[in-house]
Point group: D2
């Protein structure tokens, strides 16, 4: 099974790229929470295709209609179901793809798994479109976290070869606010033009680029998470790898730690001038033994270049059993990193809520 | 909760580093399987501390006593419980650590979470010792997979700055056999001396080094895995991040893909000379949309340098609320990458069995 | 958490009596199944209030709109979400009930649990209305079972003091067909008038009556079910007790067995004239040690009299902290046993599918 | 899967009647609880076969050895594993039963399910012996509940035709204490001799009798339980039906309510002289809409007569495919109701802890 995830806040996702609608059921939102719909709307808009410079030319309003669980804007404690209509679908674009497998897409695995009965239009259930449901759920989780003074923030760590800086050991509030308000959140703002150019260039070439998103959860106290199978890392990563195009996850310095010696890598504890317990570095990303340390929980995610490109590619026709070439048409993102930012933040919020939720 | 993991084959792990015993319950092993105890023993021995050049001086026999679920060497279909006694524990080594937090260990998070009632000796439940239970369970999962012609193999991709080669797109049987029989499995055998030297050097310095393990699952047909929350990547990564010291996970080329363009990164399908459907490259690591492609499932894991080092470190005493220095005593691994190999393979076997199991 | 149930076929239910809609997500329906919508419609209609002699005067069409998971009438293997609009709601009926607790309703427990934020109109999420979603899911489960030659059938075992006969040890096909086609399914048809009269009489008195439904699953071979926590009985009963008004469950002869001696109660095995292995009696209801025996799985369910009656009742106003009297208005069923039949059958189908599903 | 149950307090059970040991892993016991081992011992002894008048002649000490999770008698917050050795097994008693199916035992279903690889000695995993593990887990759950002023108590409601009285609407403390201290707990003590005689008589005849146990949970406040699939009734019943020989479950008046009219059956609320909110009757057994009302949670369980009797019975030999007769030997309980009392109480404690646990 695969549509349901979580424990304290359980989400069940449904829909395909070209079905009538997609949506999500959230079970476990406490009663009596006044929802900030503007904030939900803001997160949905960050993810929605808007025809802008970082996006597919397709536009989709992504209005989430709440069917139940909320009365007069206040949660009832019962499951919340939100439905998002699929309005701007061009199904004809996919007619050629019935038997021709798009490289680096889920087409072939799905075809085998579902004996060819899966809806291939728009990638069906493997479409990034379903992340709209995750963003909706995450937008609610964020509001629940905010009441506990926990914030989620992310920035672009790289697009193609262009790199931003990593989060510092301590993540200050002004930075959090600046990044949260930015369409292209970067710690080093000077990289903005390079990144825009890399994406524009890939678009001009009918090609695509990938990148890395770094995300931080601030305000989480020490002692959350469960040893062994419900570690903070296990919980976050299991959800991250449900997001299409994610190919890697690091906590803290991740792979860079493997080239360090223990004496460099270890995060030394100290009491700061206010008597707060902190570590000098945060190479471990705020998690030790699966449990939060009280430092920011920091992880990053590798997002591969969009698989849909306009360049001609070699592939196969599985009906005729022939090697063929394929030139994709339709509307595709040259780089999904920007639109993925709110998705990764939503994942972080949903995962952390599992530990701090009521 | 955290002690139970899995669906078709469910494992429940118990024990702490210095409790009477640790162990595991396996629920879901089919009836009628003649277990190969020699093979279980082999895997347990690969992980067990043996006092050798890559290990802690501590030795532990790690004999797993099977309490139930097996009759005359054949599985009954009912839960199998295996218990591994903790025989070689030196609890006195830990007396100084009651209030002094070891850097990069779980000490502080545990203390907060369990209000100080957790057993700190040997790291308690956060100890790498519990991976013996995972190796036991994995050794059984491997035997179940072998009946389905699925193999798990791994090698050291790096230790500190020394790097081995990645798996090629196709992984041939002789390589699998060579790696499986090797204590220090490397694709490029010439790196062996460098790696030994890096580890020996860290030991001499009272320090430690980390590394990367690359693991491949061969023989898995296309169409396994579940979209969204039970993707192959989600399942493998959730279990990997339960293994102490794991700080990152990549599938296929992982982070390297983020610097590629789509036209380079995409794995193009073709029919090979035998009519088999393959991809020219395997940058995606054999998984697309959460589902197997029929190519080897390839992932790698970042393992941080052992947190326990003999060099003096800055830290705090949380009872006296003071900044202090700490010099660890006891017996510690200078590099746990070698002993982690069978653990990572066990994780791969347990995860893949969730999809192909009966 | 509470909205999600099941393993092979997982259902997630949402909605309240007076929310915009209720619905269900089914995860785990295999791909390639041509759905019989007429059969789904038939089951929905059996449950829907129709203003008839056994029902509330309220009418509700209960059209289930399928949002995803089905393409051209054939399942895709991805989650199916069905939404049922709440069209005929009279919210004004409930204004008096904000603080006055209806006896034998969930009002008070909900108020405490949800701090008064739950929607009280129509009983909110505790409403029998949500069983429409269970019937929808069950209607699909039945179709999956039919492909495996497994049938679910039920009859009214009693209404108030009027009793029908129990199922015989062997349940013949003509009886199954007759009961399936009947609005008031009874083994002894002569009881029909008595039952109609009992219900009509309760309605005239502004009162209500309860009853017992006996349900049988035929065609299930021996060897299904899981010992201990996923016994057939555990699985069926956990779902039955999610149905409002259910207060008891028996398998086979249930309580009657407690007054028998072992020598009477034991079901003796024999090979019948066709060499089939059967039992002479089926006092155990086709389940032993949690596992099917190959005999029909037979259970029955106690359904209490509708809590909503028009007679004046003593109760309290929890706002004023006073003892008060209450006279309910609105539209209520004098006996929900008839409308509960398809719900109980749906539960049986969903539960059994957990064991035989692919 | 079937060996793991629960959420806040998760139990995993293992072992068979004649395996080396049986046992249980408890995951979720909070840290810092000083366990009362004498109380655990007391509950284990109530269930253990003692050779007395209500028991099989077999004696078993049922000492639970705790392997981990407890340090100096205080829980650590990590999983607790307890192992109970199987010391007094007479495996030779079962040699005749390899192919001859005992009536009303799980033999045949198990044989089919496990392809004959299950251990048949003593009933293998279907043995009542595994309830020792449930009693151990329940004994800990009870201690956790006691800290929240919640008590579990039960009495024999009937053995064969002899009936005790039901619990009154309010259950007073002296009664709870008297029943808790009694080997043969009865509200109406005058029934004691009749019950002893019924059991003795069945033993003399080589036969067996069943009975009903009524159980109450006192001190549970209103508002616990989850609507729909995690109702209090669903949770209790799913666990009850994992106990061998349970064939029926009622909450409150159960089946008797089906013969009442709503006006009789409804539990009317009132404020008592102390201003406490109570109901005049407790026909619903303290649960409405799946949620506690604040009245005692009352349920009862039908326990069938022991399937193992010494009288000759008709059955089959599945190897020779013949109808045969069977005369059982060995040591069997003439009535398991008395030994089942602590098991049913353990189930109640484990189930209620799911809702009130930390």
């Amino acid at each position: 099974m695969s549509a349901t995830w979580g424990n304290k806040l359980k989400i069940t996702i449904f829909g395909e790229s070209h079905s009538d609608a997609i949506g999500v059921v959230l079970d476990g939102v406490p009663a009596g929470v006044k929802l900030n719909f503007k904030e939900i709307r803001k997160q949905m808009t960050r993810r929605a295709p808007n025809g802008g410079e970082f996006s597919t030319p397709r536009k989709e309003a992504d209005n989430a209609e709440i069917l139940c669980g909320v009365l007069n804007g206040i949660t009832e404690g019962t499951p919340i179901c939100a439905v998002i209509k699929n309005t701007n679908t061009k199904s004809s674009d996919y007619s050629q793809l019935k038997d021709v497998m798009r490289p680096s897409h889920a087409d072939y695995g799905y075809r085998v798994k579902y004996n060819g009965f899966n809806d291939i239009r728009g990638g069906g259930a493997s479409s990034g479109r379903l992340t709209a449901a995750i963003v909706f759920a995450g937008a609610i989780a964020r509001q629940l976290l905010k009441k506990k003074h926990i914030n989620v923030v992310s920035h672009i760590l790289s697009v193609g070869p262009v790199k931003d800086e990593r989060f510092a050991t301590e993540i200050e509030k002004p930075l959090v606010e600046r990044l949260s308000g930015s369409v292209l959140p970067l710690i080093n703002k000077e990289k903005e033009d390079d990144i825009k150019e890399i994406i524009a260039c890939a678009r001009r070439d009918g090609d695509s680029v990938g990148g890395v998103i770094e995300c931080a959860v601030t305000g989480l106290k020490a002692g959350f998470g469960d040893p062994m199978f419900d570690s903070i890392e296990s919980t976050i990563s299991s959800l991250l790898f449900s997001v299409p195009a994610v190919k890697g996850v690091e906590f803290g310095c991740g792979y860079d730690m493997t080239a360090m010696r223990g004496s460099e890598a270890n995060d030394c504890w100290y009491y700061d001038r206010n008597g707060a317990l902190r570590t000098r570095t945060n190479n471990n990303g705020g998690v030790l033994g699966g449990i939060s340390t009280g430092m920011p929980v920091v992880f990053n995610v590798a997002i591969k270049p969009t698989a849909s490109i306009f360049k001609e590619q070699d592939t196969v026709n599985v009906a005729t059993h022939e090697n063929v070439t394929l030139s994709l048409k339709g509307r595709h993102d040259p780089c999904i990193v920007v639109r993925a930012l709110p998705v990764i933040e939503a994942v972080a919020a949903l995962a952390i809520y599992q530990f701090v939720g009521d």
